[in-house]
Assembly symmetry: C2
Homo-oligomer: 170 residues x 2
């Protein structure tokens, strides 16, 4: 490839890596994804390592993370035994899927944790408490209910996020 | 306060910190916010340090971060010279505001970076390139335009996020 054309690809890849790193994602994942996104055909892991100037080990770890996200997929290239990859170009789809997955795991764990506190609160209510203690407990319970209401709304939203996408046009 | 009632508050605070840490936010910020969220009245920085079992320095740094997010605000307490804080209970509001701020900064930087590459592409187009080089360049440009289109849609969405909130019910 022409050196200058190649340098354009390099800039795209490294700037993409810089930007994904900026929002707290892995630079390597950003670079690998960009290499595939800007390519017309699937690329093997070996080639990806060369293009993104990273070790095969690093390329392999991060391509598997991208696969788990649904951001890239392994494809079959005729007469070639090596693993090749291509980008899932539906960026919003996999970002939303992955975020929804993380969020629902988080919600589940959060509910489990809060259930323990609620059991404790219920047993405390049956005890002899003075007015101030009772008031504190009532406040905690009310605030917790408010918080849980918000969590439920967000969980519902996450479930319907794909139908919402049409509504909001992304 | 009754020891058991106090221990409920403690559990709420520390579990909240654990959960915010889980999603990549600061544990201290989560604890401080929870301490204020579950309190009926404003709390001074000194008290917050005691309740959340953190140094005054740590409490002070993290309460200022929360203030910057719009998650807590400093309030005036009669006949008390110390800074007091209370929680902004509109969680979705400040989460969205803060995310939109970070995202628009990210978009601005991204656009700047991509403009450099586009200038390079334009000057390359005027040069003598063979068919394969031309095709590569056309692919990069088309993909970049696709990406920019998505970014613009998200930016537009971010601008209208508050009116969207009514639509999606959060």
């Amino acid at each position: 490839m022409n050196k200058e054309v190649e340098s354009v690809r390099e800039e795209l890849i490294f700037k993409f890596g810089y930007l994904t790193n900026k929002i707290g994602l892995s630079k390597s994942m950003g670079q690998l994804y960009a290499a595939l996104y800007f390519s017309k055909k699937p690329i093997s892991l070996d080639e990806l390592g060369v293009i993104c100037r990273m070790s095969k080990g690093n390329a392999s770890i991060n391509i598997r993370r991208l696969e788990k996200w649904g951001a890239v997929k392994r494809v079959w290239v005729k007469e070639n035994r090596k693993d090749h990859y291509e980008a899932n170009r539906e960026i919003m789809s996999f970002v939303i899927n992955h975020s929804a997955e993380i969020f629902s795991g988080f919600l589940q764990e959060g509910n489990g944790l809060l259930d323990e506190v609620k059991i404790k609160m219920d047993s405390l209510e049956k005890k002899d408490l003075d007015a101030a203690q009772k008031e504190a407990l009532v406040t905690y319970k009310a605030n917790l209910r408010e918080l849980e209401g918000l969590m439920k709304k967000i969980a519902g939203l996450m479930k319907n996020i794909h139908s919402l996408r049409g509504l909001i046009g992304i």
